[in-house]
């Protein structure tokens, strides 16, 4: 193998004129984290709503929930990304479409919306599974206590369901984090994209990708540690 390693490359100034290659990768990492966290807010709220819809007694509500999940799960993420970025501004009424196109940081907002709606379908499946895994008696007990449906969910079903699905939700969060890399196709300057441009500028392919790999693994470890901490904090004493 005649590849010339040069680990000092990270301290050399990047051709973008602001800081070194290391700064470039770290700025990519911060975009990755910002995108992952913002889209998770949408994914968690919308996903919980859709998941609850799929467990309601109303047939219409369940149909809406199922339609949403099937629609967003059966189209590849990259295609969804293109639909949000290239197609949505064109099919919206003229003024709204051009407002979207002129947004500063348009790739960021597009990626957040796209990942949010995409991951919501996955969160919804977990929330539904969590609620369905609870004994039927819990819902009945809620009704017997005189709770409305909303109160039953708020005080009985959801607090239990969320605790059960915490581990799969963590892995959905990690998937969401990894999926932010797909946004490099619409020009988001996230970590994989930055590693790719570092490789194009400096020709130090393997240093750039090794650094990105290590950063991804570190973020994964931090998320897993945080999830373990949360799991311990919210565990109901005496349960399991």
């Amino acid at each position: 193998m005649n590849y010339t390693w040069n680990w000092g490359i990270f301290l050399e100034p990047s051709p973008e004129g602001t800081g070194t290659y290391a700064d470039m990768l770290l700025s990519g990492l911060s975009w990755t984290i910002a995108t992952a966290l913002s889209s998770w807010v949408i994914a968690f709220c919308l996903g919980s709503l859709i998941g609850v819809l799929r467990t309601l007694p109303s047939k219409a509500a369940r149909a809406v929930g199922t339609a949403y999940v099937e629609l967003f799960r059966n189209v590849p993420l990259l295609v969804q990304m293109f639909l949000w970025y290239f197609v949505l501004p064109e099919v919206l009424p003229g003024s709204l479409g051009s407002w979207i196109k002129q947004l500063p940081n348009a790739p960021f907002y597009t990626a957040v919306a796209c990942l949010g709606f995409f991951t919501a379908s996955r969160v919804a499946e977990q929330v539904r599974a969590g609620i369905e895994s609870l004994p039927r008696g819990q819902r009945m007990a809620g009704t017997a206590m005189g709770f409305t449906v909303a109160q039953t969910y708020r005080y009985v079903l959801l607090p239990n369901a969320y605790r059960i699905i915490l581990p799969p939700l963590t892995s959905e969060f990690l998937n969401n984090l990894k999926n932010t890399s797909v946004a490099l196709t619409i020009g988001l300057l996230e970590l994989t994209g930055r590693a790719r441009s570092m490789q194009e500028f400096s020709f130090q392919v393997f240093e750039a990708f090794t650094a990105a790999t290590i950063l991804y693994v570190l973020v994964n470890l931090v998320v897993i540690a945080a999830a373990t901490l949360i799991e311990r904090r919210v565990a109901v004493p005496g349960q399991r």
């Binding site: 189209v75 293109f82 639909l83 994989t192 392919v205 991804y216």
Partner: protein, 230 residues
């Protein structure tokens, strides 16, 4: 909002989209799924073997692959495979590897990590008594695996393996970052040539949706049929 649509561009590019694009996507999916299941099963067996170096290596591989984004792995192998090829053939320069081969290697190795986790669950779902019974009959490890454990593990995990293959089918669209002409790549090339992004991307989304919905419906039917009643 649909008054400016030109669906003629979709109709005229159908032979290209399906003849080249979809054939590429399906070939890549089928080959990578087959390779991924074989390598994934090996990884699962390594991970469950309990042999110190072996299961550590399998665990590290699976965990590493699962913590990286597919796009990054695609880039890794795109640049790494020529060097590995040179190292294996002893050639002094990185050898030329086609983008298709590179993508095939990437998807096989990447999906193997996910298939390995499914097969690990499948192997663990076989009651210990069966392995013990096979050993009592005088079978060795290879025979036990080949004749007793793996056939049942595959059958139990078939729906999950197929669902993962549908995910793989969707993920192959990411070869777009290597400018390959898979189904989405073909749609995108026509879209950019004719300036018809809206029509082409909507059509691509529709086709993916129809294929995946139909496939997952079939998997659910199959799941009901092959399920072993215990």
């Amino acid at each position: 909002m649909f008054q400016n649509f030109d669906f003629g561009v979709v109709a005229s590019s159908l032979p290209y989209l399906f003849g080249q694009g979809m054939v590429f996507t399906l070939t890549l999916t089928a080959l990578a799924a087959t390779g991924g299941v074989v390598f994934g099963t090996l990884l699962a067996m390594m991970r469950l073997s309990g042999v110190p170096g072996l299961w550590h290596a399998a665990k590290l591989y699976v965990e590493l692959m699962r913590s990286l984004p597919l796009v990054l792995v695609i880039f890794w192998f795109y640049f790494l495979v020529p060097y590995i090829g040179a190292w294996m053939t002893g050639s002094p320069n990185p050898i030329q590897v086609g983008a298709f081969t590179s993508a095939l290697i990437t998807f096989t190795l990447f999906e193997a990590a996910y298939f390995a986790e499914i097969m690990r669950a499948g192997i663990q779902s076989i009651p210990k008594g069966q392995t013990a019974a096979a050993q009592a009959l005088g079978m060795g490890y290879a025979q036990t695996m080949r004749l007793v454990v793996l056939p049942q593990a595959f059958r139990n995990m078939l729906p999950l393996l197929l669902t993962q293959t549908i995910v793989l089918f969707q993920d192959t669209s990411l070869v777009y970052v290597l400018s390959l002409t898979d189904f989405l790549g073909a749609a995108s090339k026509v879209a950019q040539r004719d300036g018809r992004l809206v029509e082409m991307y909507l059509f691509a989304a529709l086709v993916y949706f129809a294929v995946c919905l139909a496939a997952s419906f079939l998997v659910r039917r199959l799941q009901a049929r092959v399920a072993i009643i215990r």
